[in-house]
């Protein structure tokens, strides 16, 4: 049980018009990189929003680090790092100050915060941008700041929605290595993506989501996972229509 970083059980949330996620079960274990793949609008972001309380589930439970996120016990959110939708990068602050603010929001202060920030700046090669205001950074470098904010405190659970968005090839490799290091150290990682080749490189488990439902799993070492992915998605669409 202590190895379970995230567990969703029968989670549903429906938007007006019927879109959303429906009866989703999903787990992320310690040391695992679990990839959630699906087409645009499949429900990946909605599912991730439910994991950090950006949305409340209408049915089912979301357990983060063993605690129900809407329960009374309280989740240790300092042990969670998430980047969903926009990076937490305030235009008026430079890269380093943005990271210090992100650390402070997780209760890190003084030397501990500075050490964590310096580590993340080195790890994601942000040195050149640490003194540059975020409003002057490219989208890709803002994304790097957001990723550094989510990873710098070495959380036990990492949730990243389309993390390679806007990243250049070197940024993609740096992120991949950072995630592999953290998984090796025991973090449970959930990433969403629609780049099958990218997730196949690092994922230990791949779940396919279509029309708000988990419709199957792909073998990361499979020979033609793209074909398998589309077969699952089209079968699911045929079933629902």
């Amino acid at each position: 049980m202590s190895d379970l970083r995230l567990r969703l059980t029968g989670v549903s949330r429906t938007y007006r018009g019927g879109a959303g996620v429906h009866g989703v079960d999903l787990v992320v274990e310690a040391g695992e990189i679990h990839a959630l793949v699906g087409l645009n609008g499949a429900g990946k972001s909605t599912l991730m929003k439910l994991m950090v309380g950006m949305l409340q589930a209408e049915a089912g439970t979301v357990e983060v680090l063993g605690r129900n996120i809407f329960g009374t016990d309280g989740v240790d959110w300092a042990q969670v790092g998430a980047l969903i939708e926009y990076p937490l990068a305030y235009g008026e602050l430079d890269g380093r100050t943005n990271l210090l603010m992100a650390a402070r929001l997780r209760g890190m202060r003084g030397e501990a915060a500075a050490t964590a920030v310096d580590g993340a700046i080195n790890e994601l090669h942000l040195d050149r941008y640490s003194a540059v205001r975020a409003r002057r950074l490219s989208l890709g470098n803002k994304q790097r700041i957001g990723l550094a904010a989510a990873l710098q405190h070495h959380p036990k659970l990492i949730v990243l929605d389309e993390p390679t968005n806007a990243l250049d090839p070197s940024g993609v490799i740096l992120l991949r290595e950072a995630l592999l290091r953290r998984a090796e150290a025991g973090a449970g990682i959930l990433i969403s993506s629609h780049h099958l080749d990218e997730v196949a490189r690092i994922a230990t488990r791949i779940s396919v989501i279509a029309d708000g439902r988990i419709v199957g799993h792909l073998d990361p070492d499979g020979i033609d996972i793209e074909r398998a992915f589309f077969a699952m998605v089209y079968t699911a669409e045929a079933t629902t229509t």
Partner: protein, 253 residues
């Protein structure tokens, strides 16, 4: 309590680098002080046509004219400036998309909302204090002499008026939270401004919290001072409502 301290530290650091707050504050403080100084200079010029336009209160060209003019402009301009500042402090999280990074943290969104209100009040009080100092400097520079007891009372009243005006601007934060952007906050500020100014002109309902500071700025007597006691209800009610909106916030639209 520690998480509220963390939230205040973060919000105050953001505010210190925010050009919107610096420029809005500077515009209010320098604008009101300059306008009041110009009125004094005009009053001392003695041109009967200008004196007639200024009215009896501003035409005297002394400390009373300087402070009366400043008070009237602060009641309207201060509300607009403070409403814009608070709308930005809250609405920018939605406009910039950074609100999504404020979930899944040990610092609760209630603490973040409370921190924003605390930082707003600190900023608005600092701007009010700067305006008061500028008026003192302007009066001395214009050769009005050292302020006498009446002028000192007027300066204290000016400081209090700035703070009270900040308090009645708090609904802008609630509207910006509920409407998830800057414009709803600004719209509510303009609504409050119209209500206050029309009520003053019509000499009506000085006891309404939104109206009381403007009324007091024009008629600083005992009755209007008593009406000020209801002003704290505005930040209490709308501050609590703002925190409530943030606590229940879901990014579902």
């Amino acid at each position: 309590m520690n998480t509220l301290i963390d939230a205040v530290a973060v919000e105050s650091r953001k505010a210190r680098s925010a050009m919107v707050l610096w420029s809005t504050g500077a515009l209010l403080a320098l604008g009101v002080a300059t306008l009041a100084a110009v009125v004094v200079v005009a009053g001392r010029g003695g041109d009967p046509a200008i004196l007639a336009k200024l009215g009896p209160q501003a035409a005297t060209g002394d400390w009373a004219a300087l402070l009366a003019t400043a008070a009237q402009v602060t009641a309207a301009g201060g509300l607009l400036a403070f409403g814009v500042g608070l709308s930005w402090l809250i609405g920018r999280e939605f406009a910039d998309g950074t609100v999504s990074g404020l979930f899944g943290l040990p610092v609760s969104r209630s603490d973040i909302a409370a921190a924003k209100l605390i930082v707003f009040l600190a900023w608005a009080f600092a701007v009010s204090a700067a305006l008061t100092v500028l008026l003192l400097v302007a009066g001395v520079a214009l050769g009005l002499g050292a302020p006498d007891s009446a002028a000192m009372a007027g300066l204290v009243r000016q400081l209090a008026l700035g703070a009270l005006t900040a308090l009645i601007a708090v609904p802008a934060g609630w509207a910006a939270s509920l409407g998830r952007g800057l414009l709803p906050g600004i719209a509510v500020t303009v609504g409050v401004l119209v209500l206050a100014q029309v009520s003053v002109l019509a000499d009506f309902a000085s006891w309404i919290p939104f109206v009381a500071p403007a009324f007091w700025s024009i008629h600083p007597d005992v009755d209007s001072a008593l009406a000020l006691s209801v002003v704290p209800l505005v930040p209490l009610i709308f501050g609590a409502a703002t925190i409530f909106v943030w606590r229940r916030l879901q990014l579902d639209r």
